[in-house]
Assembly symmetry: C2
Homo-oligomer: 371 residues x 2
């Protein structure tokens, strides 16, 4: 396995790292935030706008894409890149999280998971092997293994059982991945489970590193546990993961969560917060969080966020965005989504700059006070 990930620098003041990931669809500088495009589109944002905001990689979801547009369509188009005309890099979540969220609609066995489509109730079966195959068809630059997301809370025994299943699946995923050739130079990441139990996390990661993946993710967090617990588990996991592979904290989180995790040595992030909150009128700005519906912005002439180099941030007043939001104008969703993604990308880009200058911790403190 050649060295597609390069660790460039570790900040002298912490474990925060700067690196690069090479893909068939461009180079990604880490730490990186990946906007979520579950169904092959980031909500309310055009591809060219993602490029403009310097998003190098976005997320897709295997479960959703498998159901819609469906594998035959993706096969005909030669993958999601061609189908959607997204030219940047692409990571696909395995869809395990979505399948297990279906609750009533699924049946788990060692072999895999049977589930009913949330769209039309049709029956489907995902095995670890199948999920690798589907992601091969999607053509994602980074694929994730099928895992069982351990619920919170879980007893030690539950977490251990769940972890054993995920480990078994991780091994089968790797075998399938190796067996099936790799003409698109795709990468396969493992996902650490083990609930909130440090020793389970440790065992999992040791086994997983033994199997050998292109990168290592931390799953099963941001599932309702207190933030301190999330930080503790993240710290323990990051510590155990090999330094020469990217580390990805899945589905996390707030700007604060991300900055704390970067300090622990995490490289990759994704989260629906920036786009989902945008659609609720919640803005992330360099001056802090804003509820744009608030009456105090009715006459506010100031730009949405002067400090960001983004069409939405600089060209429109808070008052205009408030008006659009209150009036239910789609343009309001568009501008708010641009602002929030611009903010998240600015945050990790600046984190990287500070890491390279060994100033990460002092900058983090400063920026968290402002936010």
């Amino acid at each position: 396995m050649e060295n597609y990930f390069k660790l460039e620098h570790t900040s002298k003041d912490s474990k925060a790292r700067a690196g690069t990931i090479e893909t068939q669809h461009g180079r990604i500088e880490t730490p990186v935030f990946m906007p979520v495009g579950t169904q092959g589109a980031v909500k309310a944002v055009e591809h060219r706008e993602l490029h403009e905001l310097q998003a190098k990689i976005i997320l897709g979801n295997t479960y959703h894409l498998y159901l819609r547009p469906g594998i035959e369509v993706l096969e005909k188009f030669g993958g999601l890149h061609n189908f959607s005309n997204w030219t940047g890099a692409l990571l696909t979540d395995s869809g395990g999280y979505q399948v297990f969220s279906l609750q009533e609609l699924r049946k788990i066995s060692e072999e895999g998971v049977e589930f009913k489509s949330h769209i039309d109730g049709s029956k489907h079966f995902f095995s670890p092997e199948k999920v690798v195959q589907v992601q091969k068809i999607i053509g994602s630059d980074i694929m994730m293994v099928l895992d069982e997301c351990t619920p919170y809370p879980a007893t030690y025994q539950q977490a251990e059982q769940s972890m054993e299943l995920s480990l078994l699946w991780a091994r089968r995923s790797k075998n399938e991945f190796v067996k099936s050739g790799n003409e698109k130079m795709q990468r396969l990441f493992g996902i650490a489970q083990g609930g909130m139990y440090f020793d389970l996390r440790r065992r999992y990661i040791e086994e997983m590193v033994g199997i050998g993946f292109d990168g290592y993710a931390i799953g099963g967090l941001s599932v309702g546990e207190p933030p301190e617990m999330m930080y503790d588990v993240t710290g323990v996991c990051a510590e155990l993961m090999p330094a020469d592979k990217p580390r990805y904290l899945m589905g996390v989180g707030t700007p604060e969560n991300i900055l704390e995790a970067i300090e622990m040595g995490i490289d990759m992030f994704d989260c629906v917060l920036p786009t989902r909150n945008a659609r609720n009128g919640q803005l992330f700005t360099t001056r802090g969080k804003i509820n744009i519906r608030n009456a105090k912005y009715k006459f506010a002439e100031e730009a949405i966020d002067e400090n960001l180099d983004c069409y939405a941030s600089r060209n429109f007043s808070l008052a205009y965005l408030r008006h659009l939001t209150i009036s239910g104008e789609i343009l309001g969703l568009q501008l708010a989504s641009l602002q929030n993604i611009a903010f998240y990308l600015w945050l990790v880009r600046t984190a990287r700059e500070k890491i390279l200058k060994d100033e990460y911790v002092s900058w983090k403190k400063e920026v968290l006070e402002k936010l």
Copy 2:
């Protein structure tokens, strides 16, 4: 009144005209289509995208803008241009049509119309004078007088009474407009009413021209009458309107309607069809109308519309747009809206080229066959 409208050419094969309208926010070439931005935003389309598509003028609605963001906000910002940061030209409808659509919520007298806000039920009063004043605050380049849109069907007597009221209001609007100065070089258009009765339309237009406006609109059409009747009334009206002023057919219509009306000498159009239909998955393309939800596009690799110079039209396949639409992705609304507006603007721009070459009628025939 200086000559802000220049009639450049009348096609030798018909009454179709090409001209230019000068505004404080740029020159408009006619025939022109004006995308509708009722609340100060075109639905699902960014301002920069409207510029990209060469939209020179968009519509706002006085009734909606008066209620939201409200006059105090627009006053503080010095008008809708500054508030919304739309730098092109702006025409505002008087809001008469909206107020009269409220039905239960309004009370008409000679003085004006009392109505209740559709948003919060609060009571308001529009007089012709007030509507001019509100549009002065909005700062629209072209303002429309308050009129009563005669319903269809209406008896001769109903249409005549309604027309008398609109005429009275037109006179008062002009007086208010003259009285109040014109530092923003705004223009005021009259609106012909008279129902489907030719002699009422004739009387109305003669009186209206006597009052003297910067342009003349045809109102009260596209209200449920058969298309032949609409064409007949449009033809009669256009004939009677002075050649040296722009002629505007309000709220019309389909591509076919627009091409027929251009042939009768109409210069300006607005309609919600391109944006509203886009949101229902109905596309206007140079190959004809398309329902993008249709299963036959599931695997369709062809571009949405190769013949249009538009981001959406050329960069995305029918299959991808179908997927976005079926999956409820906002990006689907965005791309479909871009496509439809691009199509309408292409249509009138090409009409203009053909008029200048005296080839309008043969081109119209050709293009209608394709659509």
